[in-house]
Point group: C2
């Protein structure tokens, strides 16, 4: 840290992303990536002609991708904005709809970036604890008078609210924006996108990193009524008008249009999740009802941190969080059936050994 850094930044605790070892020697089940490559249409979209066009700035309006997304989600193009990953859209949304007098309400156990962004932008955090079983009581979010963000399904708990429950929160906070972070929605929860037509305070954020296999391309979509999206574009054009590169625009559009591949791969993940959950339960693990591409699991036979380290020593990388209520747990990304068999074998060796 230099002596030139502002006090706000000096005091901040940045988010710690999951380990990204570059040597690929691990079975990597720690950052919720897909075990399957993107649609073959993605590689086909990255032509030499597109490489040559890199001399030109991208379309700041991202019209091609927006048209494809509008068709896919049943929205108008001006109800959608792409971001350099979902993180950027979420950060833009906090920039637009929160400030030092307008706090952000969110759960105690949820995506770690919400709190970091609040600290960075001097936004007060209103942290609402989840219930004992990690479920979220929607009534606690009624009438808050604050901007709200809910990861649905939540991470790392994997639990989801119904659109009806979200609708209750929207109705009970008509003067505040409710951000629903649907990073994992495609793996077994129901999306709130259809509610956009009825609620002008709903902003839904989705990502291409999980169910569309494009974590490395950095692409997310924010969806809401046209005025909310215009607000986000105001932030984008004030910060980084060319925030999405040309190749990602092409890759994203190709992935979005290959709906058959999307369905096939997410169904494989859901099947493998069911198999893995059953195997873990057989071994006495306690699991939440995950609607995501990961499991959130603990065993009374070994503390979470110790089990994480033992798995890593056996070449299986999972995620462990040090936080108060979650340190007993592991967050385990669903990989291929073979990878999950290797996980179960490693667990048996560690716990029976």
């Amino acid at each position: 840290m230099s002596r030139y850094l502002t006090p706000t930044l000096a005091a901040l605790k940045p988010y710690t992303p999951g380990e990204q070892p570059q040597d690929q020697q691990y079975i990597k089940l720690n950052t919720n990536e897909s075990p399957y490559p993107p649609s073959p249409a993605v590689a086909a979209a990255l032509t030499a002609e597109e490489a040559d066009k890199l001399r030109l700035y991208p379309d700041p309006a991202c019209a091609g991708l927006m048209a494809a997304a509008a068709k896919h989600f049943g929205l108008a193009p001006n109800q959608i904005m792409p971001g350099n990953g979902s993180d950027e859209n979420l950060f833009f949304a906090l920039r637009a709809f929160c400030d030092s007098t307008r706090p952000l309400a969110y759960a105690d156990v949820t995506y770690g970036c919400y709190g970091v962004w609040c600290d960075l932008m001097h936004i007060p955090s209103h942290i609402l604890p989840l219930e004992e079983d990690f479920s979220l009581d929607p009534e606690k979010y009624h009438g808050l008078g604050e901007t709200i963000v809910i990861a649905n399904p939540n991470a790392p708990t994997g639990l989801a609210l119904t659109p009806g429950q979200i609708e209750g929160i929207l109705k009970a906070n008509p003067d505040n924006v409710v951000i629903v972070d649907e990073a994992y929605v495609d793996f077994g929860a129901e999306s709130c996108v259809p509610l956009i037509h009825q609620y002008d305070n709903l902003l839904v954020v989705q990502t291409f990193s999980k169910s569309r296999q494009l974590a490395g391309a950095r692409l997310g979509l924010a969806m809401g009524n046209a005025e909310l999206i215009a607000d986000l574009n105001r932030v984008k054009f004030s910060l980084n008008p060319y925030n999405i590169n040309r190749l990602t625009l092409k890759a994203g559009q190709a992935a979005l249009e290959d709906t058959a591949y999307f369905e096939a791969t997410r169904n494989k993940i859901i099947e493998t999740r069911a198999w893995t959950a059953a195997e873990l339960r057989k071994r006495g693990f306690v699991l939440t009802d995950s609607r995501t591409n990961f499991l959130f699991a603990r065993t009374s036979r070994m503390e979470g941190g110790a089990l994480y380290r033992a798995l890593k020593a056996k070449g299986v990388l999972v995620r462990h969080f040090d936080g108060a209520r979650v340190s007993d747990y592991l967050r385990i990304t669903i990989g291929t059936p073979q990878q999950m068999e290797a996980l179960v074998k490693a667990l048996d060796e560690i716990l029976e050994g």
Copy 2:
């Protein structure tokens, strides 16, 4: 604008990027892109294997690109940080080194984003007017006690300071960061990167958008001593840890390593600039001594806005700014020799017609 937007955002005037017509019917000399495609090594780097790897997050440390950049610039990898375009690095730097009590000093005629970022982040702007001839008097930046940003060469004026002049500013502001925005440095100015070894308050920002033909890939580099770069990484890991996508990392590294192509294309631009400037001077235009890939030119025969519109009607797109001291001028990107011949022909038709 929605009723949910914060007052700060509602009051803000976003930056207006140059027009980006998507139909390619114009000779496009308005956003300082290169008329030449990127190095063939860029297309070669975008393999089907890389497309498949998009399922994985990028390396947040960007180690491959940082190693190549360190070698190229004679720095250590921890003295460099990549951004999602130079804009992101500049925005991160203002985040790190300015706040409501630490103003940013910059010229009245310079890159328009500096002021927008200040407004967005509640950073006071200290605007120092350029001299009558658009030159920058370095003495006016001595002992300011403020963070400083200098585009060198400047845009849209095209004029450059020497590293000796920048060094004077660094010495005269030891307690403040001096950001040197070298977006255009490769076209005829001298870089301040070697000064990084002597001054811990120097941050140099470069881009791959101009001299490396990758405007569409969005990539910039911030360079400075390791502590300043650690500060910028603190911002990055607080905002968007995976800010650079995998394909851009590969494309950038390939472009950086093809130094022969870089030299050949920038020399062509410099030659074409000299030819174009001479042709314009023959026709009575007044030009600054541009060290960039654009010319900044005016003629007493027609007002800037009218000439911009007349050129656009003839299929030649250049940039016109409405601001106080610059509305007489056009900013004309250097294209291929053929494109510049077409520009001169169009000007003759308009002004003689």
